[in-house]
């Protein structure tokens, strides 16, 4: 969702989004282990911390590139470089935690810090409600406030928006705050279920992008739907298959989002919104002719 937000609102394809999530993981981890704060209160820190990383990304990476008139290709590479940089920094931080505080800062889970309500895992309830809340808040921001409308405007035509007296600089910073804060928030939930370490993002990134591609990188709602579909497909299919063919299949779960992504790109490159029967037929015919061309 955040990746789409970044692309649609600032025209920046952000490859570092999954690692923003890992930052969330480590903020939560630190809050719990070092400050003794509970899992859910530390969400606040994630939101603020992730947002700050987003803003710093904008100020030190995206803005200078923009000013130079970099192509989107170059910005893409820059976010990939940022991704590598952040992963290395997280590794350094994990080393530091291990050496200084003698705590295991890799391959950890935080399931012990969760609680349960009515037999449901707390994380499920909280993450779903946070997800819905975020969706509602973003919806309200984009449709009801001047700020959101202005953000939409700069997404569509920055120079024109500037002419209309919109303070684009301020808006970009706000947008990037959200771009950083959302994945960090999402990351906070991650270690409750799955084992986490500094390179976690590399394994989630395929799922994340697959969700965005399916959503079509245009609006946050599509991205939300796309993300949910991919995540559910991956989880459900993998657990089903692991019962049928054995647990070894668990390691290949990432292939499902990859498959979804590739099919999406070939069949309806504009994402879910463009899905219509007519289009599907035309695309499949197109693929067939392409395949023939290959022989």
């Amino acid at each position: 969702m955040s990746a789409t937000l970044a692309l649609a609102k600032t025209n920046v394809p952000n490859f570092a989004v999954a690692t923003f999530g890992t930052i969330g993981i480590y903020i939560t981890f630190s809050c719990i282990k070092l400050l003794g704060i509970g899992l859910y209160p530390s969400l606040l820190f994630c939101f603020v911390g992730g947002g700050l990383v987003g803003v710093l990304t904008y100020i030190f990476v995206i803005r200078p590139l923009r000013r130079r008139g970099a192509t989107s290709e170059e910005i893409m590479i820059a976010t990939l470089a940022l991704d590598i940089f952040l992963i290395a920094m997280l590794n350094i931080y994990a080393d530091y935690l291990t050496r200084k505080y003698k705590i295991m800062a890799r391959d950890f889970t935080l399931s012990a810090y969760d609680f349960s309500i009515f037999g449901l895992d707390g994380v499920f309830v909280v993450s779903t409600s946070v997800f819905l809340a975020v969706l509602v808040v973003l919806h309200l921001i984009f449709t009801k406030t001047n700020l959101g409308i202005a953000m939409k405007a700069i997404g569509e035509n920055p120079s024109l928006a500037e002419c209309d007296g919109v303070n684009t600089e301020f808006l970009y910073i706000i947008t990037w705050f959200i771009v950083g804060a959302l994945p960090a928030l999402a990351g906070a939930f991650f270690p409750v279920y799955w084992m986490s370490n500094p390179t976690t993002s590399m394994f989630v990134v395929v799922t994340v992008f697959s969700g965005c591609v399916l959503g079509g990188f245009t609006t946050i709602y599509d991205a939300a739907v796309g993300g949910y579909i991919v995540a559910i497909a991956q989880t459900a299919l993998v657990s089903y298959l692991s019962n049928v063919v054995g647990t070894w299949i668990l390691s290949y779960g990432f292939l499902i989002p990859l498959l979804i992504m590739i099919v999406t790109i070939f069949v309806f490159p504009e994402g879910l919104r463009s899905l219509s029967l007519d289009r599907l037929l035309r695309s499949s015919r197109y693929i067939l002719t392409r395949l023939e061309g290959f022989r």
Partner: protein, 353 residues
């Protein structure tokens, strides 16, 4: 007391530089000239490297009539193979050449696969995302699927240089082999750059719709560039595996094999082969020096110096993109026939009309 690099440091450095020059020159062909943002390059090298772990050992075991399960006894079997190879230089060289050719083939096939999502009008971001995702998936499969190269445990690679006397002679053997490959790849990339084909590739990069309007099959061109460029990178990966004598599932990750090469090409200058050479030499030397002083650094840092690689790459790449996007030796028009010839033809034409 600071240690001073010795002979060994330099032989290792030269080997790395040669292997990475093969990668960066072939990468420049795809990204610099043709404009394909190939973020999956690591899997090209991986295809060649992992093939070295998979094929030559099994092949030799078959030849030597070894019956035991290959993977279970891989260390003993490869040891036996190596003793055979030591005695037989011709067999060694044959195995080396065959494996390098097959590595090119395997990587080329992967290049064909990677070129599938490139079609006219695809959004650049989609292409980048897809290639990156395919690469991550490729590496994850190799890492998890034990039958290939025992995943994270890895396998030893038969040593086709064992017949050379141990010590510096082996390094020279590796360097000479890599240098031969480099000369072929370098000659190909540089002369294509100066040919009508290089001109066409640049045209496609500039504006693929116009190139298509001029009657060119742009898609076919993309496929061919990817296959050739991947095949070259695959050979580099295979050379690296032979040089290391071991491959594990963690090898050929994206930082070293995709993004450092991108940084090297950008430092030197996109679509500039000279620049690419300079960029590669500078960064490989830098990386080897850091590794060389790793022990010295370890004492000062509260973390493992291996992470410096990523920190450095991230910072360097971002700074390059902000301050020096066209490189040290920016792209220049490359003429197919000499300036004198062009001037002569021009004179001729103006006389006629």
């Amino acid at each position: 007391m600071i240690s001073v690099p010795g002979v060994e440091f330099f032989t290792v450095l030269v080997t790395y530089i040669i292997i990475f020059l093969i990668i960066t020159l072939s990468y420049n062909l795809a990204y610099g000239y043709t404009g394909i943002p190939d973020f999956g390059r690591a899997m090209a090298a991986g295809a060649g490297g992992f093939l070295c772990g998979y094929l030559p050992g099994r092949l030799m075991a078959r030849v030597l009539g070894i019956q035991e399960d290959y993977l279970e006894n891989v260390i003993l079997i490869v040891d036996r193979i190596n003793r055979e190879l030591e005695k037989n230089p011709a067999l060694s060289i044959g195995l080396l050449v065959l494996t390098l050719l097959l590595a090119a083939l395997a990587a080329g096939a992967l290049g064909l696969l990677a070129s599938l999502p490139i079609f006219r009008g695809i959004r650049l971001f989609y292409l980048g995302v897809t290639l990156l995702s395919i690469q991550i998936s490729f590496n994850t499969i190799v890492y998890h699927w034990e039958p290939i190269i025992r995943g994270e445990h890895g396998v030893p690679v038969p040593d086709p240089f064992g017949w050379l006397p141990p010590g510096p002679m082996r390094s020279i053997g590796v360097i000479a082999t890599s240098a031969i490959v480099l000369v072929i790849v370098g000659y190909y990339c540089i002369s294509v750059g100066r040919s009508p084909l290089g001109r066409l590739l640049k045209a496609v990069r500039d504006d693929e719709r116009s190139a298509e309007a001029l009657g060119r099959d742009v898609r076919k061109l993309y496929v061919k560039v990817m296959v050739i460029s991947y095949a070259f990178s695959g050979v580099a990966g295979a050379l690296f595996a032979f040089y290391q004598g071991y491959v594990i599932g963690l090898h050929f990750e994206r930082v070293t094999w995709t993004f450092w090469p991108i940084a090297m090409v950008i430092l030197g200058g996109l679509a500039s082969n000279k620049g690419t050479v300079i960029g590669t030499i500078v960064f490989i030397t830098l990386k080897r020096l850091i590794l060389f002083y790793k022990a010295d650094l370890e004492a000062f840092l509260p973390f493992s110096p291996v992470w410096l690689d990523g920190v450095l790459l991230g910072i360097i790449l971002i700074l390059l993109l902000i301050y020096n996007p066209r490189g040290l030796l920016p792209e220049k028009p490359e003429i197919t026939i000499s300036r004198e010839d062009i001037e002569r033809i021009r004179e001729d034409v103006s006389k006629v009309l």
